[in-house]
């Protein structure tokens, strides 16, 4: 019985660790800030949850399990908030790869400010040279 519990706990811990690894990979491989925030929320949250489940099975005693439950709950509550704030700032600073966007329903008149232009290749206005690095802020 305890061998079975060990196997389940090990599987949860390994799967959670692998998911956290893919979150890290996503931070490196994804093309822009918005996509990177996806990697920072979904696989990472799921990975943390799985690690918590594995640890709760392996650690005896309810005191630890309650603590892990709190960690999981706050992870679920806070990860979307931080991801939202970072991606909102990134969108306003135009750190968006517009050439990858299939649809953009948010780019209304109020959001097209030329002054706060980002430095991604997709942000360059058509027919104009790329701004030099010194001007980007």
């Amino acid at each position: 019985m305890s061998a079975l519990a060990d196997v389940i706990a090990a599987a949860c811990l390994l799967a959670g660790a692998a998911l956290c690894l893919t979150a890290g990979l996503g931070l490196v491989r994804f093309p822009d800030v918005l996509s990177r925030m996806h990697a920072g929320t979904k696989p990472q949250v799921l990975g943390v949850l799985l690690v918590m489940v594995g640890a709760a099975i392996r650690l005896d005693g309810w005191a630890n399990a309650w603590m892990l439950l709190l960690v999981a709950a706050f992870q679920l509550l806070t990860a979307p908030v931080s991801a939202h704030l970072i991606s909102r700032v990134a969108y306003r600073r135009r750190h968006v790869r517009r050439d990858l966007l299939l649809v953009d329903e948010f780019g209304g008149a109020g959001h097209q400010d030329l002054r706060h232009r980002g430095d991604e290749p997709g942000d360059a206005p058509p027919g104009s040279p790329r701004p030099s690095a010194g001007q980007s802020s």
């Binding site: 692998a18 998911l19 893919t22 979150a23 990979l25 996503g26 491989r29 994804f30 093309p31 918005l34 996509s35 925030m37 996806h38 990697a39 929320t41 979904k42 696989p43 949250v45 799921l46 990975g47 949850l49 309810w62 005191a63 630890n64 309650w66 603590m67 439950l69 709190l70 679920l76 509550l77 990860a79 979307p80 908030v81 991801a83 939202h84 991606s87 909102r88 969108y91 968006v96 790869r97 990858l100 966007l101 299939l102 649809v103 953009d104 329903e105 948010f106 780019g107």
Partner: protein, 186 residues
């Protein structure tokens, strides 16, 4: 701070106090009367020093729709976690994304917050903006394969919203959701 009747304050702050005490007891790990009382003192001091605005349109919880929501939420979490993990691993990398806006139906701060949290975690989307007055949520979709895929993800946000409204919403919210679903149904 304006002076309010004690009953109103208790009604709005009660759930918050209960939540703070629960966190306190969980942090200690064991239940004892000493923990409960000290947690109560800490919660009251916190609320006196850092008063929070009232959550208007307080939540009622319906157990069965709540279970429906939680079940779908967990399965969605696993699916979207696996999907984004695959996007990080696959050789071609991310090819296309999308930014879309969805018109929501519910009209309560609490429900809109829950919808934003849930959609951030589940169906391949990330909240960019939430217009409180127009009730329009702006999302970034990560694997956006084609236009049909984008439409399907937009529809899924509305489904999540419907589940949340049925689990926590007022009768008005549920009615608004159902009216809209009847309009959409062919």
């Amino acid at each position: 701070m304006s002076v309010e009747p004690a009953a109103t304050r208790l009604r709005y702050q009660g759930p918050l106090i209960a939540w703070l005490v629960l966190v306190w007891v969980l942090l200690w790990g064991t239940f004892s009367w000493a923990n409960l009382l000290s947690g109560l003192v800490v919660a009251l001091v916190l609320l006196a020093l850092l008063p929070l605005p009232h959550v208007v349109g307080g939540a009622r919880v319906r157990p069965l729709p709540l279970l429906v929501f939680l079940g779908h939420f967990l399965s969605d979490l696993v699916v979207s976690g696996a999907e984004v993990a695959w996007q990080t691993l696959r050789p071609g990398g991310v090819r296309s994304t999308a930014i879309v806006q969805v018109q929501l139906r519910v009209d309560s701060d609490l429900l809109l917050t829950m919808v934003a949290e849930a959609t951030s975690l589940v169906p391949g989307s990330l909240v960019l903006d939430l217009d409180r007055e127009q009730r329009v949520i702006t999302l970034h979709l990560l694997p956006a394969r084609d236009l049909a895929d984008v439409e399907r993800k937009k529809a899924h946000v509305l489904v999540v919203e419907g589940r949340l409204a049925r689990a926590f919403g007022s009768a008005d919210d549920i009615a608004a959701v159902e009216r809209d679903e009847q309009v959409r149904a062919p």
